[in-house]
């Protein structure tokens, strides 16, 4: 139950908006493939983003000044 988005997302519209924000020009002929891949990765992401982590767990990315 925690593995799915609670509300459906219009992924074609999402891709259009993100492409605009990122200044990407996506040719029409490959848009369906991009939308399909966004849908795929949204599904993959659910077990990650739904997993509760304690506030004390920091990002694994480190930086040495």
């Amino acid at each position: 139950m925690d593995e799915h988005l609670s509300k459906p997302v219009d992924l074609a519209a999402y891709v259009e908006a993100m492409a605009t924000a990122l200044e990407l020009t996506i040719p029409e002929e490959i848009k369906p493939g991009v939308v399909a891949n966004v849908e795929h990765i949204f599904a993959i992401a659910q077990p990650v983003i739904s997993f509760p982590l304690p506030d004390t767990v920091e990002s694994a990315a480190t930086f040495e000044p």
């Binding site: 993100m18 040719p27 990765i41 992401a45 990002s59």
Partner: protein, 454 residues
């Protein structure tokens, strides 16, 4: 192939002048010229610089100098490593217009200092984003054991060149399994060391948080010697450890006494072909392993690795995606474009999950030294196969090839994929997994398996 079966002995013979490094090199170059058109491993052969280096080794020997532990041993590298004077293509047509590399990747320099002779660059999936080495620009590298089947990827040219005997060892890179998957499908040893153990300076990265470099070989002592020659700090790679080298060659004769070994269960014992299960069982029996442990939430770990890879890889290529989307390999293009569009919160959550998962796994390594799991769920699939049927379940083939490798590189554990060759069957690999910086324990177990014919 037989002349390379023991490349360490070969190096010793070269030091004795029989054959000369130059003579061995000419035989290697002739073999590559004859067989590479069918094998499609090499995208560049560096004959002239190799001839200069081999001659320098022969001159050093004649002058009574020690040319190094890898004297005259030929090798090649995945074409994402910088080779001085060549453009680093990283499997991409888009990179072909880049200037030539000004210097060698650090690991190439270290291998040359040890006497090894670089003979060329090897095919890969575009920008390392794949497990198959089916490249729209540079062609498919087929599996040398059966050219109708996949070599695996993304370091497929490296694994296939070693398996075919074109070179005794090669270098690859591994973000989610790209050394171990092709090593398994081609039947060679493949080492993904601890994250940060080997310098990545001069390697064209894919996803810096997860990128490793490492060697592949048919001979375990050679793999150890090559790995030992490459270790050491490197200020040119911000991820490279400051720890002093920890040579693994002495471990080959230390035996497995005192090592606590267990099978890695849960996620790592699901979804494999019967042959892979048989090989795994045989390995566990030969090591008298009876314990089984599980890493928690491994499906989430694997998914988090996917998100980090997609975000970092897509960001790295964002300008190229803006300017030339149709110049990408169709196999990577749509995934890179999609990966550029993920919410930042997801990426950070994935990086936090990485630390959480690492901490849980660290606790398990308080009780065990080496864990064992398959490398791939299947033997090399046919080149046109798209799904995998196992135990009544259908999996999409390409991502499933990384099912057992991806959660381990996610937290940078050292892993050695050991080949199993059963007569009449295609090869398959078994992963030996240790705590960070404990590569020597992997070599102790691998030497034990080699001695019992595992």
């Amino acid at each position: 192939m037989s002349e390379f079966q023991n490349a360490i002995a070969q190096a010793a013979a070269i030091k004795a002048g029989k054959p000369s490094a130059s003579a061995l090199l000419e035989a290697t170059l002739a073999d590559i010229a004859a067989r590479n058109p069918a094998l499609n491993c090499f995208t560049a052969v560096t004959a002239e610089r190799a001839r200069s280096q081999a001659q320098a080794i022969d001159n050093a020997i004649a002058a009574g100098q020690d040319p190094g532990p890898l004297a005259g041993v030929p090798f090649a590298v995945k074409n994402l490593f910088d080779i001085q004077g060549l453009t680093t293509i990283a499997g991409a047509k888009l990179n072909q217009g880049n200037p030539a590399a000004a210097q060698n990747a650090t690991v190439i320099t270290r291998l040359q200092q040890a006497g090894a002779v670089l003979v060329g660059a090897l095919n890969m999936d575009e920008y390392a984003y794949g497990f198959v080495t089916i490249n729209a620009h540079f062609g498919t590298t087929p599996n040398p054991h059966d050219p109708t089947r996949m070599a695996g990827g993304s370091s497929g040219g490296s694994a296939a060149a070693v398996a075919a005997g074109l070179v005794p060892f090669a270098l690859g890179s591994d973000t989610n399994g790209s050394i171990r998957v092709p090593a398994s499908l081609c039947g060679v040893y493949g080492l993904k060391p601890t994250y940060g153990r080997l310098s990545r300076a001069g390697a064209f990265l894919f996803s810096s948080s997860l990128d490793h470099v490492g060697p592949m070989a048919r001979s375990l002592p050679l793999l150890a010697a090559v790995y030992d020659a490459m270790q050491g700090p490197d200020p040119a790679d911000p991820v490279c450890t400051q720890r002093p080298p920890a040579p693994v060659t002495p471990a080959l004769t230390q035996g497995t006494g005192g090592l606590r070994i267990a099978q890695l269960g849960g996620h790592f014992e699901r979804g494999m072909e019967p042959l892979v299960r048989d090989v795994l069982t045989e390995v566990l029996q030969s090591l008298a392993v009876s314990d089984r442990v599980e890493f928690p939430e491994t499906h989430r770990a694997r998914a988090a690795a996917y998100i980090i890879t997609a975000c970092e890889g897509s960001q790295l290529h964002l300008e190229r995606l803006r300017q030339h989307p149709m110049a990408f390999d169709p196999a990577t293009r749509d995934r890179f474009l999609a990966g550029a569009m993920l919410p930042a919160a997801w990426y950070v959550q994935a990086q936090r999950l990485r630390r959480w998962y690492r901490d849980r796994v660290r606790e398990i390594f308080q009780h065990y030294d080496v864990l064992i799991a398959p490398t791939t769920p299947c033997v090399a699939p046919p080149l046109n196969q798209t799904t995998l049927e196992i135990d009544g379940e259908t999996y999409p083939l390409r991502p499933h090839l990384g099912f057992y490798t991806q959660p381990l590189s996610f937290i940078g554990l050292p892993v050695l994929s050991v080949p199993s060759h059963r007569p009449g069957n295609l090869p398959v690999g078994i992963q030996l997994i240790a705590a960070p910086y404990q590569e020597a324990k992997l070599f102790r177990v691998a030497a034990r398996l080699e001695s019992v014919g595992g």
